[in-house]
Subunit: 306 residues, 4 copies
């Protein structure tokens, strides 16, 4: 039974993600992303589950920077988790009894319409996290009647889910990844993703265009590009890429080798099944058999065969 660190405390969306990605794992809540990744690096845990990006907020930059700069870790799985808020109450409490609501400010913002419609007179108070809000509300004698948070927080703290999916935008999604210390990669499934980080050799105009060309020429589509500062001053960046395919695919391997030759440093962050199971639309001539045929041909012409 593996032990996985995650962004705690108990009751977070991150825990919900972990429980889907690894239902049987032992869970180790950590105070922040860096601590969770350090637990995986140091062996305190066998791996970690952390958020990578959110469909509204964008990249979780602490995760990007940790994966780029810290001791190497590899992504082995990903999950797209809808960010759905529930109204959590002590058993026996109904809507009319709710006078004071406790939750994180982000949840207040995202549930504004529900609150205005269903609880127009309730006082809403800011909590440090949705999990902390649920814990507080679960205490006998709490001054708060309800918390807003993930359903999983209700489960943890013995609260009743009075309303579900109460956010204004229930299509918001957070992408979580499972990482572990370097080791054998997940097998290719035909619908995989490869993550990596590349540092430009010299930051000349057109350098990003050159990097993108390494992928494009081999027919490898990119699904995400993020620039991050190198720390060496405004205008100096490195890049996170997510590419379609598995590093074991010939086209992906050759593209990564091309990027490696072009870059000061490339850090491979893993190949793993896509959460959305979408297989890439390959242009002509870039499937593995095409590479194998061309390699055979090259070997022949190099020995002077017709």
């Amino acid at each position: 039974m593996p032990k996985l660190a995650y962004l705690g405390p108990e009751g977070t969306f991150c825990e919900a993600a972990l429980r889907i990605l690894a239902p049987d794992a032992e869970r180790l809540p950590c105070a922040n992303v860096s601590a969770a990744l350090d637990a995986a690096r140091g062996g305190e845990a066998d791996g970690a589950v952390v958020p990578l990006e959110n469909s509204v907020e964008g990249a979780i930059t602490v995760t990007l920077d940790e994966l780029a700069w810290g001791e190497p870790l590899l992504i082995s799985a990903e999950l797209l988790l809808p960010v759905e808020f529930s109204l959590l109450v002590r058993p026996g409490i109904g809507l009319p009894q709710i006078k004071r609501v406790y939750t994180h400010p982000a949840a207040i913002t995202q549930c504004r319409n529900y609150l205005a419609r269903e609880l127009p007179d309730a006082v809403v108070v800011a909590a440090p996290s949705t999990a902390a809000a649920a814990l507080e509300v679960s205490m006998p004698g709490s001054p708060y009647d309800a918390a807003i948070g993930p359903a999983i927080a209700g489960e943890h703290y013995g609260l009743f889910e009075l309303a579900a999916r109460m956010g204004d935008r229930d299509d918001t999604v957070t992408r979580f990844v499972r990482v572990s210390r370097p080791g054998p990669l997940p097998e290719p499934t035909g619908a995989d993703r490869t993550s990596l980080v590349a540092f430009l050799r010299d930051d000349h105009p057109g350098a990003l265009l050159e990097m993108l060309s390494e992928f494009a020429v081999r027919g490898v589509n990119l699904t995400r590009i993020e620039s991050r500062p190198t720390g060496d001053g405004i205008g100096r960046y490195f890049f996170h890429f997510d590419a379609e395919g598995h590093v074991g695919d010939a086209r992906v391997g050759e593209a990564l080798s091309g990027l490696r030759r072009l870059s000061d440093d490339v850090r491979f962050l893993g190949s793993y099944p896509r959460a959305d199971r979408v297989s890439p639309q390959l242009k002509s001539g870039v499937a593995d058999p095409d590479f194998a045929e061309a390699a055979g041909w090259l070997a022949r012409i190099r020995t002077g065969q017709a």
Copy 2:
């Protein structure tokens, strides 16, 4: 005398930036970036000064998203401000008297070495902002003996600067921009920058490569590229670009027009003098006279002249 909103409270790095960008302006501190930009939009202020990116933390995403989605504003100036921390005390206090230090956690992190070396026995307590820490320390009877913050916070709250540039990385820089409602652009200076936002028409593979090609073909270098989520789900992004040159330059104008034709939407965010005064290295054939010569030639051949 213009009135400029900024990210307050008094004593922030943002105020320091504003005072350099517009020494004579009346200053309107605001609670957050959105409030400062709304003050500029609504006419409460004539403009605003806000942070855009930091050389270590990266993009200030709230600023990027506000400029992309809110009522249009144009950048008219930029400033690169070193993030330098000072040790601020009530007059009469020296190092030996400092038992308790109050500051924002980011400053604690960045001044770790100084604190370990010079104040190994001091207790360091987290404050909501460096400006708030300075205000607190300035109060008679404060339990804190020193604040860490920008020098300007000391000026504001009557504190003495006992040490300057005490951060571990005093090369950290924040880029601030001055924005205002749409209106006449700053004149080209020969060392300008143009900012814009582009939304892909349809998010096909290679779309970013196509956008970069519009710049590259006209010899326009990009100095910054940021992807941001459109909010329509993981994997859907729009892009912020900073390009060398002024929209009045022929090559920049043609590149922007090309981007416009290629994109669902392009929002122009302004052309303004570069803070670093660096003029672009132009490749052959892309200066304004080259465009003028080619336009004259095109007009002639269209009428059938040799």
Copy 3:
């Protein structure tokens, strides 16, 4: 009634092309392509019809070089003429009477199967041209019984067409163009072609790729590319291009301007209706209204409008 020079003598495929392109024109046969073009340049004729390329033999290099280097001429029309051979005899002669055949060696090669099948015992003698062969055969007392040549040669010299389309490959096609001194261009028809010649500014690696990119970025497809030596030594070339569209189209005009800025010299050779009437498949954003919309937008943002 215009007077057009052409590659003579009377009875050539070139005359056949001229009679289709300009049925009412007065015809001036010339000894070679250079002479025909010089007649157009010097005013002896109002224009000329010359071959540009053949679907089997390739470019007619003398035409390419004359158009690139000589006094400027503009192409105003093109024609694709099938190269079809006929068996031409004096009236009264039938297959059994044919003992000796006279024609140009190229025609012997291309009619090999017909000759082996229908005239296995005939002696075939090489003539300087198919037109000369027809003239010879038309003479009373000629030692030859039949000529092989274009049907038009039979008409000219009073011969009877005993067999038509006797070549082994009757899908061979020659492309002829009508040229004249610079003057107003043919109106755009929506299915046009533009011809031009470009000399590289400096012959650096990737120069051709850059030139092709000028077209590709504006969505202008090329239908023909020919390299020709500049005469300055092996490895120095200039390029002939045929592009889809009319120079009056915004995308074509901008691409040509881009090429002009990139090149040491660009010579425009004309925009004219395509013989095959094929309209280009335009990618999104490159039609004239797209350019007009983008130009309007650019004008607005340059004055600081939102």
Copy 4:
């Protein structure tokens, strides 16, 4: 002692090229390029020397088409031979005695200035080839007093070289290649050239741009590009390429493999030392050690090593 076919008769520039490329070879003159190549294919000769291009006339298309379509042959060497004309006379004849000159029309054109200056009153008569002219002049009782042709023709036919380098443009150069049946390639020298032919899979817009990108991305420069008709109608072409480097170089091998995957057919025409001994200027990251390092890295990350 190898036996090499060449474009005869004796005394041609092609023989001169052969004698430099293979001084000890037995020589087999052939009536035309096709015959010389067929002699090499069929085993009548061990190889052939034929012209490939001329710095003024351009490609020798019969050679290009024979190498593309016929039984495969590989280029193993190249030579750049200046096209220099000599005035060849029977012993004892001086300039004043020359009344009638015999030579090929191309030589008449290229020696126009010399003839006007030195032999203004001589009659110049057209011969079928410069070698035939030399043979004729060598005959006792010939009506001609002098031939114009390559020095080698004088040697062959016992003529005296009265003047050398008499052409108006003595910088004209013809590139000859030595070809043979497929077999081991010449070793890489660091200054090599690779020739090949590529047929587009489907003739879509941008296909040539894609092919050029396969070379450009790997930093392989092209020194020659020729389009030739496929024979399937106007507008259908295939391409001859000369690239810098040897197929044994990693970057060239990978570029050719990429082209192979992209194309309907690629025919390798050989890797051989450049006549001009120019080594390529490699961009960063494309030398063999760069490829080897990247391949090692790829192997490591594929097994999940950091």
